[in-house]
């Protein structure tokens, strides 16, 4: 069994943290894991991609195009930018809160309307779940837990090989003890959002 997750977003959004939580959950489950991360210059507000591969006989830290079982986008335009990482049968979870790049402000490009982005995603894949993770995080009690919402959403995806509890435990190991309850709530809200689909 091999399960590949491509995570994308904008530098500073917590893409690295989410990747590590998933990787640690897999190792706790006794699986192998190989991941690739982006550090350095790209983290200054640029596009960020991380790959997480878990299961057996895993060697490559990278995923071929079409090979991701799941694409998790922290930002809608970034999700669309990386959509060729999935096949028709894969799953896509995307946050709907846009982060408009500077290039748009200074007239070097336009940011498409959210509906257009979601439509484009749905035109190539039938398993798209769009979540307003920031709104859910505020509902949970703190905007900063948008990350936990998205991690909770992954745990509910059909075919995802780790149990809800395993992923939640790995998340809680990565957040400060005093933020435990709010992260549990955020995780659950994300989980329910995918289960409802």
């Amino acid at each position: 069994m091999k399960y590949n997750i491509q995570l994308v977003g904008v530098g500073g959004q917590g893409v690295l943290l989410a990747s590590t939580v998933l990787g640690n959950a897999a190792v706790a489950e006794g699986m192998e894991a190989a991941m690739s991360e982006v550090h350095g210059m790209a983290q200054r507000g640029g596009s960020v991609q991380c790959s997480v591969r878990i299961g057996r006989e895993i060697y490559s830290p990278l995923i071929p195009k079409g090979g991701a079982d799941l694409l998790l986008g922290f930002e809608p335009a970034e999700t669309l930018r990386s959509v060729t990482s999935v096949s028709k049968d894969s799953y896509i979870i995307t946050n709907t809160a846009p982060v408009v790049p500077i290039s748009v402000s200074i007239g070097q490009g336009t940011y498409p309307p959210l509906e257009e982005i979601l439509e484009a995603l749905r035109s190539v894949n039938d398993h798209v779940v769009a979540i307003d993770a920031t709104a859910k995080a505020i509902e949970a009690g703190r905007a900063i837990t948008a990350n936990a919402v998205l991690i909770g959403a992954i745990a509910a995806v059909k075919g995802f090989p780790l149990s809800k509890q395993r992923v939640l435990d790995a998340l809680l190991a990565a957040v400060p003890a005093k933020a435990r309850d709010v992260n549990v709530r955020a995780f659950d809200l994300g989980y329910q959002e995918v289960r409802r689909e």
Binding site: V10, T20, G23, N24, V27, E32, A33, A34, M35, S36, E37, V38, H39, G40, M41, A42, R44, G45, G46, S47, E57, I58, Y59, S60, P61, L62, I63, P64, K65, G66, G67, A77, E78, L80, R81, V83, T84, S85, V86, S87, K88, D89, V100, P101, I102, S103, V104, S105, I106, G107, Q108, G109, T110, Y111, P112, E116, A120, V124, N125, A143
Partner: protein, 605 residues
């Protein structure tokens, strides 16, 4: 990070964490570096881990010094580690290539962290050629777990041969994450006694000639080690078509090729001649899979020629594989005409919705933004030649700042500015960061004074080495590993270099900064402006950022968009016709308020 000090356990480690763990398991007594991506995390870890592990660690002022510090340690009998990014080895190469003559007494490993595809670098040079140039043994890991193992093995080889060993990694190893089982770590030897041996360590020509012969003999011994090393091994099923692979591209070949015999090379200098010869002799066709230059390929072709082997060798020289940029699983899948590749799921096609580019940018509240704005004001409508350097501020190349006309290497801003000033009548403004100034800025500044060059040098002093993850530098002093040293202030150093016209300003005070820059531009002769303000990202990390969020009075705002188009701060954007400030991003530097012609921007109540 204490988990890296444990005696056992199974951890999911970043390549650079695994390498750090390797140092602990190898009993390394001294490590030195100058930060550079993709090697930087090793230093950040050693700041905290070196002392409890019984190791001495330092950020040296540059890579050459790091190499010299580590070289002397190993010559004195203490296992040492010098590590840097690929272009750092260019700086350190003078010391390295002579250490390749003298050799060492205790093990010494030099990590070159190469960056195929230039993720964070000005070039993707292939540093495996340094092993060839220096006749040095080299190991190339393909995963974090292998990197840890190879660190330990590299020390064994270094001591068998009494010479530094190169550990050559790439971004996809340093920044990959994988499972590593910890082994027991010994207590390192961190103190020793130097024993004099001038015939070996003082490289006057007469001694150098003897050392050269010894170096060649050493390489013969190294070849024997490479031939028998398990780091060079064959996997897969017997096949007429074979693959020779190294580094991370081996992992792609291993997963996406079917029924193929792969000779995996991990000990790649010297290349195991006999092992390669035997492998070639058993094949009709061999495909060489290695990133960047045809380093292995040319060796394989040489061996085939030398032993008159009739085997097709496919690689970069035949145009079957690319020479530029890093490899990927997709690259392996594209080789279906020459290799049996596994079938993969079909990717969906990219919808044609146009997406805005998202390059890295200067952060909200970055003091460099204000410095660039002020420099452009001072340069006036005709502008200037902006000779820039290596750091976050290289991002000043992007619009609207466009304050970058030449970037070569660490410290080049000042040397090149002298050349520009000499042969043009244009204004010349050089930018260099504080850490880069200490690294390689002082000799060219003295050169500028000595040769009477006339330009403006702006030292962007953000009180840290920001780009690589906020390492300290001499300008802020040392506070790690139980050693404390005071900060070395820049202004007296600049004056001591012979510059009389020096001013230190806070770039958040835009008016004063513009004035200082104008005076510097008008000054006849060399002038220096030190624009000092701490990196807000570091302040936030340290929990020391006191911020007041700014807002826009929509009644006063005349939609001139000066703030948006001239500053391009990520916290400021257009929302329809209106300009808005994102309170979650704004750090309250107040520079936009000083740029606004209508005083429409102010601190929110």
């Amino acid at each position: 990070m204490d988990r890296l000090l444990a005696d056992s356990g199974r951890l999911l480690l970043l390549g650079n964490e695994a390498i750090t763990r390797g140092l602990i398991e190898a009993g390394v007594g001294l490590a030195a570096t100058y930060p550079g991506t993709p090697s930087s995390e090793v230093g950040k870890l050693l700041e905290d881990l070196a002392a409890p592990a019984g190791m001495y660690f330092e950020y040296s002022v540059n890579e050459k010094v790091a190499m010299e510090v580590a070289g002397a340690a190993a010559i004195s009998g203490v296992r040492s580690f010098a590590f840097m990014k690929h272009v750092g080895v260019n700086v350190a190469s003078d010391a390295l290539l002579t250490l390749a003559y003298t050799g060492v007494r205790a093990g010494m490993v030099v990590m070159t962290a190469d960056d195929p595809s230039c993720h964070s670098s000005q070039s993707e040079q292939d540093n495996r050629y340094y092993a060839k140039l220096g006749l040095l043994p080299m190991l190339e890991p393909s995963s974090p777990a292998e990197a840890r193992d190879m660190v330990v093995e590299a020390y064994r080889i270094s001591e068998l041969l009494s010479v530094p060993v190169i550990l050559r990694t790439t971004t996809r190893v340093n920044h990959a994450r994988g499972v590593v089982d910890l082994h027991k770590a010994p207590r390192p030897v961190a103190k020793s006694t130097f024993e004099k041996d001038p015939k070996r360590f003082v490289t006057v020509p007469a001694n150098a000639r003897t050392l050269r012969i010894e170096q060649l003999k050493r390489m013969e011994h190294a070849l024997k080690l490479s031939e028998t090393s398990t780091l060079n091994h064959i996997i897969g099923t017997t096949s007429r078509v074979g693959v020779i692979a190294s580094g991370v591209s081996f992992t792609y070949a291993r997963e996406w090729l079917n029924d193929v015999e792969i000779l995996k090379l991990g000990f790649t200098s010297p290349v195991p001649e006999e092992k390669v010869r035997k492998f070639l002799a058993s094949k009709e066709k061999v495909v060489i899979i290695e990133e960047l230059e045809p380093y292995l390929e040319d060796e394989v072709r040489r061996i085939a020629q030398q032993y008159h082997l009739n085997v097709d060798i496919l690689g970069k020289r035949t145009g079957h594989l690319p020479r530029a940029f890093e490899y990927s699983p997709d690259l392996i899948l594209s080789l279906k005409d020459i290799l049996p590749v596994k079938s993969e799921r079909l990717p969906v096609s990219q919808p044609d919705t146009p997406l805005p580019p998202r390059p890295p940018v200067l952060c909200a509240g970055c003091p460099h933004r204000a410095s660039f704005y002020a420099a452009k004001k001072a340069a006036g409508p005709k502008g200037a030649i902006y000779s820039t350097d290596i750091g976050c501020y290289t991002l000043g190349v992007q619009p609207p700042m466009q304050c970058a006309d030449l970037t070569l290497c660490m410290g080049s801003s000042i040397g090149a500015a002298g050349g520009f000033a000499q042969v043009t009548d244009q204004k010349v403004i050089a930018f260099i960061g504080d850490s880069t100034f200490f690294h390689a800025g002082i000799p060219p500044l003295i050169n500028a004074v000595y040769n009477k060059h006339d330009f403006v040098l702006v030292i962007l002093d953000n009180r840290t080495t920001a780009m690589t993850g906020h390492q300290p530098n001499p300008g802020v002093g040392r506070e790690h590993g139980g050693i404390e040293t005071p900060a070395l202030p820049l202004e007296p150093i600049v004056r001591a270099c012979g510059v009389d016209h020096v001013r230190t300003v806070d770039p958040y005070d835009l008016k004063t900064t513009v004035e200082a820059m104008k005076e510097a531009v008008a000054h006849d002769g060399m002038s220096v402006v030190i624009a000092e303000h701490p990196c807000p990202l570091l302040k936030r990390k340290e929990g020391k950022l006191t911020r007041s969020a700014y807002g826009i009075d929509q009644d006063k705002c005349v939609r001139c968009y000066t703030c948006v188009s001239r500053l391009s701060c990520p916290a400021i954007s257009k929302d329809g016709e209106n300009v808005v400030i994102d309170v979650t991003m704004c750090i309250g530097c107040g520079v936009c308020a000083q740029v606004c012609p209508k005083s429409a921007i102010g601190v929110r109540e």
